[in-house]
């Protein structure tokens, strides 16, 4: 049996994992990152539009600060988020982007003088003063009051990922790619690392560590059509679930992005609409202002996706051989803007749809349709990033339910979360690793290794059984049809029932290729049952939650129900079960800085109020009024309303132009 030891083990080599690894390496820990693919190929590379941080540099960002970012994030979450965590996040985001700038991310910078932008389809002149010249620029995104999304053209994730990956190489982080964690080593409710399969040689090795951090991203590939990379199968989430101890939070909160290219599912960034692009229907009519007069095409993602589906149901979609879709028109931004700021979008449209989106009129319109995009749910953690129930297991990024996104994430907040959580959680994780000893017997480790070795041998030994690809494709179809943008009790019942049957079936697959080494079919055979567990957590959570909140839309329960459902769903999996165990964790309104109310977009009055909201709102208003009269500043007032934990170095005030 092979055992490899390190201080800090990070599973997942995207932005969140690598930034956490940097945090651990900076504290002198021997740090290993495991990744399915070379880390620079991680799905983080696909993030196009940008990263939210309230720098307040540009003209259209003036007056922005942590409070505005916080308010946008809480409303965006449909009050499903942990407000303390959202505060930790917005306070650190400006520091994260400035750190990345120092690491060489070539953020687009402000040029002084006049420049033209398209706002609400009209060409508008924006003047930038001299003192802003050369500072980091930002663009508009959905659900935000200020232009806050910082970017490098439409390849933001790529430039960030390369900077952080290179920083990890500089710090001698031990990066091992083509390694897959297939189980966690745990004993007496404490995590000690992972059982890892080498995707080339097939070797099963125990990686034993003081602390373990999962940052494996989302699970979009349980759906038939998704913008996610092919590696986003939720296996990191599943190995946490399979401990039977760690729990998953809000798995039913799945985001659908309004504008992936149809039918291929390749994302066209929200920056398209942020920069002034619009949605059009079969008549070429711009329909979003009819539904959302205030935020129009830039309401939050859940709202825009639903409005698009509604509009298509009214017969206003465009029919094609692949089905119905709508148009995204960015041609109005002009060729020059597209070729500079939306170049990847242009390349994607050319390669996958055979159109040039800079061509004027309908010729340049891109076919789009909402598709699965982001997993708000994930491994439930405390604000430190540690699992609430399994000591020594940390998680951050999309894999985690930390939980700053609640039931709907704002565009630009996820790529921001990866590095911000990488800094905050990475630091707490590093401290944990410094203060912990490995106190596990090798015979316990051995048991885990032998179990997995036997499992693999058993998988290739069967000569008759089900086809794993058929099971996988059926799961994807069920999720697509019944656990999509609009959900109802009947469909969800069906989904849960059939997913459970598929899960039972998935344990009896026959693998045709018998190699234990590099073998994609064997990988499917052990992954698909794990994916089905994740899918069941999503579907069961959605069936039980009889309300609509954020991206979770129940047609049979159209109202957000704060009286009964202001709580987080927790799912866990007991060994031998064929269905997850569902529990709930209440959200305490009396501790909220912003008690639940109307989001400012979406349907008004679609709400069952909780009487405590008004009580807390009163209390907040009184406190604010009193402290303002006493001459307290916004930091003091905030601290009184809702104190939040954060490392001192990250809690420091962010300096902005106006502060000088």
């Amino acid at each position: 049996m092979k055992i490899k030891y390190c201080d800090a083990l990070v599973i997942g080599g995207g932005l969140a994992g690598l930034r956490s690894a940097v945090a651990a390496a900076q504290k002198g820990l021997s740090t290993t990152v495991l990744s399915l693919v070379p880390v620079k190929r991680s799905h983080s590379a696909a993030a196009q539009g940008g990263m939210q941080a309230s720098l307040g540099n540009a003209k259209m960002s003036e007056g922005d600060n942590e409070d505005v970012h916080f308010s946008d994030t809480v409303k965006g979450s449909d009050w499903g988020c942990d407000q303390e965590v959202a505060r930790m996040f917005v306070t650190t985001a400006p520091k994260a982007i400035r750190e990345l700038a120092a690491w060489g991310v070539p953020w687009s910078r402000i040029k002084k003088g006049n420049h033209e932008a398209v706002i609400n389809t009209k060409k508008t002149n924006i003047f930038e003063e001299d003192d802003k010249h050369g500072l980091i620029n930002s663009r508009d995104f959905g659900g935000t009051k200020k232009w806050r999304t910082c970017y490098t053209s439409d390849a933001t994730g790529h430039t960030m990922l390369f900077a952080v990956a290179n920083e990890s190489l500089k710090l001698n982080v031990n990066i091992e790619d083509r390694k897959e964690a297939i189980g966690l080593i745990h004993h007496n409710n404490k995590c000690y690392g992972a059982i890892v399969r080498d995707l080339i040689t097939g070797d099963i090795v125990a990686y034993v560590s003081k602390g373990t951090l999962i940052a494996t991203g989302g699970y979009g590939r349980i759906y038939e059509i998704t913008t996610n990379a092919v590696i986003c199968e939720g296996i990191g989430t599943a190995i946490a679930l399979e401990t039977g101890i760690a729990k998953l939070g809000n798995m039913e909160a799945v985001q659908f992005h309004p504008t992936p290219l149809f039918p291929s599912g390749i994302l066209l960034t929200e920056g398209c609409r942020g920069d002034g692009g619009v949605l059009r229907d079969v008549d070429g009519h711009r329909f979003m202002p009819d539904y959302e007069p205030e935020k129009k095409d830039l309401a939050s993602r859940d709202v825009v996706s639903r409005r698009m589906m509604e509009h298509m149901r009214k017969g206003k979609g465009i029919d094609s051989v692949y089905g119905t879709h709508l148009w995204l028109d960015i041609s109005i931004l002009g060729r020059e803007h597209i070729e500079k700021n939306l170049r990847d979008v242009q390349e994607i449209c050319e390669s996958f749809a055979g159109i040039d989106p800079a061509d004027e009129g309908q010729k340049g319109w891109a076919p789009v349709h909402p598709m699965q995009h982001y997993s708000m749910g994930g491994i439930r953690t405390k604000p430190t990033g540690e699992s609430q129930t399994l000591q020594g297991l940390f998680s951050c990024g999309e894999a985690a339910c930390w939980d700053m996104h609640g039931f709907n994430r704002l565009g630009g907040n996820s790529v921001s979360e990866t590095v911000v959580a990488g800094m905050i959680v990475g630091n707490y994780f590093a401290d944990y690793c410094i203060n912990t000893q490995i106190d596990i017997q090798t015979d316990v480790i051995e048991k885990f290794v032998h179990e997995k070795e036997a499992y693999m041998k058993n998988l290739v030994s069967k000569n008759s059984g089900d086809d794993v690809f058929k099971i996988k494709n059926r799961m994807k179809k069920i999720m697509q049809d019944y656990v999509g943008i609009f959900r109802d009790g009947e469909g969800l019942e069906k989904a849960v029932k059939e997913l459970e049957e598929l899960y039972i079936k998935s344990k009896n697959v026959a693998v045709r290729n018998k190699q234990l080494t590099a073998n994609p079919e064997l990988e499917e055979a052990y992954r698909v049952p794990m994916m089905l567990k994740v899918a069941l957590c999503v579907a069961k959570g959605a069936l039980d939650r009889t309300e609509s909140r954020g991206a979770h839309t129940r047609e049979d329960y159209p109202k957000r129900d704060d009286a009964n459902w202001l709580k987080r769903t927790l799912t866990s999996w007991k060994e031998g079960d064929t269905m997850p165990t569902v529990e709930y964790e209440p959200l305490d309104i009396m501790k909220m800085e912003i008690p639940p109310g109307f989001r400012g977009y979406g349907a008004k009055g679609n709400l069952i109020e909780n009487p405590i909201s008004a009580i807390r709102q009163n209390e907040v208003d009184e406190m604010v009024e009193k402290m303002e009269l006493e001459g307290k500043d916004r930091y003091e007032i905030q601290d009184k309303l809702m104190p939040f934990p954060l490392q001192d170095e990250y809690k420091r005030k962010n300096i902005r132009l106006g502060d000088l």
Partner: protein, 241 residues
């Protein structure tokens, strides 16, 4: 009527000690509208040979995983449309990288070594206070750095490089591009002499034979030859010891 496509794919599994033979295998599939090599290979794996190995991640031309030899040229398979190819399509793994199996090669290990070799990170003696306003950068300079930072390290330039094929330790256009990228980044304090130390030899900037294979095959259309020529002129002015 759609075309029937014939894929001739190189099969070889270095892990399989019993069958040490490399061979071509043919697969036939019906062409579908907008079919890419990604879609075709996925279909072949699901319906004809579940053991066929190849790499895709983003399937959108962004991550660089799926570079392979398509009818003799290194290309990103995810965004290569079958309609642009004849009905016989020959697929081989990228040369010069270690073969994992079939069409899958180990670019990650090579790229990590390359990044360490050219020290592909900002070198700065400044302590940056991340709570304070960032250093201003000329917008044109930030754009120029971004132009070179767009490299996705797919390996096409290395696979298309005559020098690399005869000189195993050649750093390749991908590495030289990283040098050019940091040379124009104001955050990086390295001098031309520092870069000379890193790549001022025949395995670096002076090894390039200007065969243009890198720029011809770069899926991101980076100005690789222009930048190599620029860096070579700069480094040639450094007097060797």
């Amino acid at each position: 009527m759609s075309r029937e496509l014939t894929f001739k794919i190189l099969r070889y599994d270095p892990q399989d000690k019993e069958n040490v033979r490399a061979y071509f295998e043919e697969f036939k599939i019906q062409e579908a509208p907008s079919m890419t090599i990604y879609i075709a290979l996925t279909q072949i794996r699901e319906s004809q040979d579940a053991g066929l190995s190849f790499d895709f991640v983003c399937r959108a031309g962004i991550c660089g995983s799926c570079a392979m030899m398509i009818n003799g040229r290194p290309k990103l398979a995810c965004r290569t449309l079958t309609r642009d190819l004849p009905k016989e399509i020959i697929l081989l793994p990228l040369p010069t990288f270690n073969l994992i199996k079939d069409l899958s090669v180990n670019t990650g290990v090579w790229m990590d070594e390359m990044s360490k070799r050219v020290e592909s990170w900002v070198h700065s003696s400044h302590e940056v206070d991340i709570a304070n306003i960032e250093m201003p950068i000329e917008p044109e300079v930030a754009d120029a750095v971004f132009e070179l930072d767009r490299c996705i390290e797919c390996g096409c330039c290395v696979a298309g490089c005559g020098t690399k094929l005869i000189k195993e330790d050649f750093v390749g256009a991908v590495g030289l591009n990283r040098i050019a990228r940091f040379e124009c980044d104001p955050h990086d304090e390295r001098t031309i002499e520092d870069y000379y130390e890193l790549v001022g030899d025949d395995n670096g900037i002076f090894g390039c034979m200007t065969l243009l294979g890198c720029e011809d095959t770069c899926p991101k259309h980076l100005p690789l030859q222009t930048k190599i020529a620029y860096m070579r002129r700069k480094l040639a002015t450094v007097k060797g010891s």
